[in-house]
């Protein structure tokens, strides 16, 4: 029989299985003694019961938390992980100085460019008339009327006198249908005798039709 005593601390460590083999053997010998055995075993039983009660108590506490609260936690975890993922992605290259400058002036130059484009088209249309009128050929009006000159003459258009009509009305004889009116415009129909025979001309002017004539 051992003459050595066992401390409660040793018993606690024995309960946890943390004693060295020799020390563990001593405790087991001590537990086998008639006098000490029941008391030691009761202490070990109390330690086991406390462990079970602790686990049951904390499990019961955990069971009180509603599932929805954990769902909130998982939502927050997802958001946190998404933020981390976004933070670790390579940053987009910073725009060049030129791109930034373009970005700054874009709101201004886009409308300006659009206006300029429209203006250029208008100028082209008007100037085409100016070119045609700059060299009127009274003898071959059908060319001017049916085939406008495609040449764009931007600058000279400003030089055209405002009172000068773009297309001089040709001198023509009356046809069977003398006048027409459509879409608020009026026209005159006539014929011109030229080198290659008689040409029928429909002459449309920009003058508004009278109220009575719009019904046509």
């Amino acid at each position: 029989m051992t003459t050595r005593t066992i401390s409660e601390q040793q018993l606690s460590a024995y309960f946890d299985g943390e004693l060295e083999p020799a020390e563990r053997a001593e405790v087991e010998q001590w537990l086998a003694r008639d006098a000490a055995g029941p008391r030691g075993k009761a202490l070990l039983g109390e330690l086991g019961l406390m462990r079970d009660a602790l686990g049951a108590s904390l499990n019961a506490e955990a069971a009180r938390v509603p599932e929805a609260r954990f769902e909130q936690i998982w939502d927050e975890i997802d958001r946190a992980l998404d933020r981390e993922t976004a933070a670790h992605q390579p940053a987009a290259p910073s725009p060049s100085l030129w791109a930034r400058a373009l970005g700054m002036i874009r709101p201004v130059w886009m409308p300006v460019a659009a206006t300029a484009g429209v203006t250029a088209v208008l100028v082209a249309v008007v100037s085409s008339g100016a070119v045609t009128t700059s060299e009127p050929d009274a003898n071959t009006p059908e060319v001017a009327a049916s085939k406008p000159a495609p040449t764009v003459a931007p600058a000279p258009v400003l030089a055209v006198a405002p009172e000068e009509p773009a297309f001089p009305e040709p001198e023509m004889r009356e046809a069977e249908i003398e006048r027409i009116e459509f879409s608020g415009k009026q026209g005159r129909i006539g014929t011109i005798e030229g080198k290659r025979g008689t040409t029928t001309v429909i002459w449309v002017s920009d003058e508004d039709a009278g109220p009575g004539e719009r019904s046509l």
Partner: protein
Amino acid sequence: MQRYQRKVYSVAYGFLRNQEDALDVVQESFIKVHRYLGNFEGNSSFYTWLYRIVTNLCIDHIRKNKRHRELEFDDGLRHDGEDGGMAAMPLSSLGDPAQVVQRREILDAVQDGLQYLSDKHRAVIIMRELQGMSYEEMAQAMKCSKGTIMSRLFHARRNMQKLLTERLGYVPSSLADETHEDRGADGVATPQAVLP
């Protein structure tokens, strides 16, 4: 992963004694698991690895919180001398062990007991009793020696038993008498006592 959530929560709650703090630790634990899953080598079970993360977060939380509270829990502060010790057996004196752990007042008493333990004592009890950590693992987590853990755990258990005795208010007189009269005969001594 969700199947671990309540286990993790119960550990965190055992350490921290506050629902929202415990849920914060649950959240942070699973974020760390996702973040470091690639580093998990599989030397231990996933459960053990997860518990280590939870434990470290709880200990960090307690340390940070302690700085705010400006309180230091000395091990000796709540060691109740050398009297009594584990000789008081509040739980086993209450009847059938299988039924004891199902009784509401017992579970509440355990919660109260945890509440009044020092942070360090509560930590070692949770790590050992709930997580099954070895003394070596506990020593690493708490940055102390195995001997310190052994002593701390013994005192934590003893204090817990005393708190349960106070809370439950019943210790059989026969056991209490036995505690004082028969200790020498049993050969069960407090840590410092040496009997032939």
